[in-house]
């Protein structure tokens, strides 16, 4: 019997995610960076009271449909793109720890709507401190002092301490119950490589949770990934699921 972290379905991979879990949701901003199938699986699971963390709170299903139709940008929206906003819009999210909870102009995203209604809680945090809190969780650092944020809204309730005459904030490790991330290639041990700027929060969240689940383009033979170029080492990943050859067009279909 050999070590094999590859699972057969996204539904199986998230089946034990409990109500009230904290979930690191990978991606940054553009469609190709998100673990769309894992987000969809969490939506199908219907788990509620989630705390989600990540850069962006995401778009509703209708907004994504609009963006897919309009295709205004240079980058085509993949048909199987699912935004973390789906979970927000469906009322599965109780709290967000986010750098981009709302768009500063334009569209009102679901998180903004629910925030105005008092139906979600927000912990606003800059991307750097958010990413470093995840790295700390992975690396066994309980807390750290960063110069970033002193004297601003993100400092509320946080300890301030001077180092070399400069004030710093104490930020705590942010370990989630589950991290759902997107990677390019995996092997059965869970080693991961990413593709270009899809590395972003995906690689940052790997290992920053009790269970890290990677949605990948491809599983390759053990030994095929260059040992000098593996970005996420096997111990940080507990489950791997391969994206389907035939793209899903409806998040609600079991997958």
């Amino acid at each position: 019997m050999a070590v094999n972290k590859v699972m057969e379905s996204f539904d199986a991979a998230v089946a034990d995610v409990a109500d009230g879990s904290m979930v690191h949701v990978g991606g940054f901003g553009t469609a190709a960076e998100y673990p769309s199938y894992l987000i969809a699986a969490l939506a199908r699971l219907g788990v509620t009271g989630l705390t989600i963390t990540g850069n962006h709170s995401g778009f509703s299903e209708a907004q994504v449909e609009m963006m897919k139709q309009a295709n205004l940008g240079m980058i085509k929206y993949p048909v199987d793109y699912v935004s973390p906003g789906l979970l927000v819009d469906r009322g599965q999210v109780a709290k967000g720890i986010l750098a981009f909870p709302v768009l500063n102009r334009g569209l009102e995203v679901p998180f903004e709507t629910l925030l105005k209604q008092g139906k979600v809680e927000l912990e606003l945090i800059g991307q750097g401190s958010l990413a470093e809190r995840m790295r700390a969780a992975r690396a066994g650092i309980a807390a750290f002092y960063t110069p970033v944020g002193v004297g601003t809204v993100v400092a509320d309730g946080k300890e301030v301490r001077d180092f070399d005459g400069r004030p710093h904030l104490l930020e705590h490790a942010l370990k989630a119950d589950v991290a759902i991330i997107r990677a390019h290639k995996a092997d059965r041990w869970g080693n991961l490589v990413y593709r270009g700027t899809a590395r972003t929060f995906n690689a940052t969240m790997a290992g920053a949770a009790t269970i890290t689940i990677a949605e990948v383009d491809e599983v390759v033979e053990l030994g095929e990934l260059d040992p000098e170029a593996i970005v996420t080492a096997a111990p940080y990943v507990q489950r791997v699921v391969v994206r389907p050859a035939e793209k899903s067009t409806t998040w609600s279909d079991p997958c």
Binding site: F28, G29, T30, A31, A32, E33, N55, G73, M74, I75, K76, L98, A99, F100, P101, V102, L103, N104, R105, E112, L115, K116, L122, L124, I125, G126, Q127, G128, S129, A131, E132, M134, R135, T146, P147, V148, G149, V150, G151, T152, V153, V154, Y194, R195, G196, T197, A198, R199, T200, F201, N202, A203, T204, V231
Partner: protein, 226 residues
């Protein structure tokens, strides 16, 4: 809107062109969303600059205009596709912000809603919004060696954006060192905001009229040239 409506103003591209003068060979430069991202277009290839984008590239090339060349996994923080260039490398978000927080960015150029006379930056929380999105700008504002703001001199309603004291929530205190607007170039100094360059067709008193902060106007204030 005001008595200055008929005066010349730089468009976004021209502001970016002026700001590009402050980008020197060998610098590590991070360009924020909006006008700042236009700056790279004015850095000719033989002036080697290492452009950093906080979503995880250092050393990328031009913004791509041809849809056939787009790689959805090679984008800047604004979601624009950028060229793969020799010497570039990808990094995770935590590694990218280690680079920022560690002070390895020579210049960051950011858009803003307001700048205070003391260099306070308020660029994340527009009036009327229940909350703003602080994004990655805060780390850049606190930790880059130099923070340059590119913004129109006035709000769309004709109000001032360079303030004796900012009225919007701050992204970072006392961090801005230069402001490039559509009518002037200004430096934030210990003595206050110094008017360095004025666009042709304007005189310094007129710039002061559309500025809330009191400006220091040297005798040798120059003309803004592109």
């Amino acid at each position: 809107m005001s008595q200055f409506d008929d005066k010349p103003r730089l468009d976004d591209w021209s502001m970016a062109m002026r700001a590009s003068h402050d980008v020197h060979e060998g610098m590590v430069v991070n360009l924020g969303m909006g006008i700042p991202m236009l700056v790279s277009a004015f850095v000719e290839p033989d002036r080697e600059v290492l452009f950093h984008t906080e979503n995880g590239i250092i050393g990328f090339g031009r913004v791509i205009e041809d849809p056939d060349l787009v790689d959805p996994n090679c984008v800047n923080a604004g979601g624009q596709p950028v060229e793969r260039a020799p010497g570039m490398s990808f990094m995770s978000h935590s590694d990218s912000f280690a680079l920022i927080r560690g002070g390895w960015i020579d210049v960051t150029m950011l858009g803003s809603l307001q700048v205070g006379a003391n260099g306070d930056l308020s660029n994340y929380h527009p009036p009327g919004k229940i909350i703003g999105s602080i994004g990655g700008a805060q780390d850049l504002a606190y930790c880059a060696k130099k923070v340059v703001v590119l913004m129109t001199h006035q709000t769309k309603a004709g109000g001032p954006k360079i303030m004796s004291q900012v009225t919007l929530p701050i992204t970072a205190p006392t961090c801005v060192s230069r402001i490039v607007t559509d009518v002037a170039v200004l430096d934030v100094t210990a003595d206050g905001i110094v008017l360095r360059e004025v666009l042709g067709g304007w005189d310094p008193r007129e710039i002061q009229e559309i500025t809330d902060a009191e400006l220091v106007v040297p005798t040798d204030v120059g003309e803004l040239s592109l």
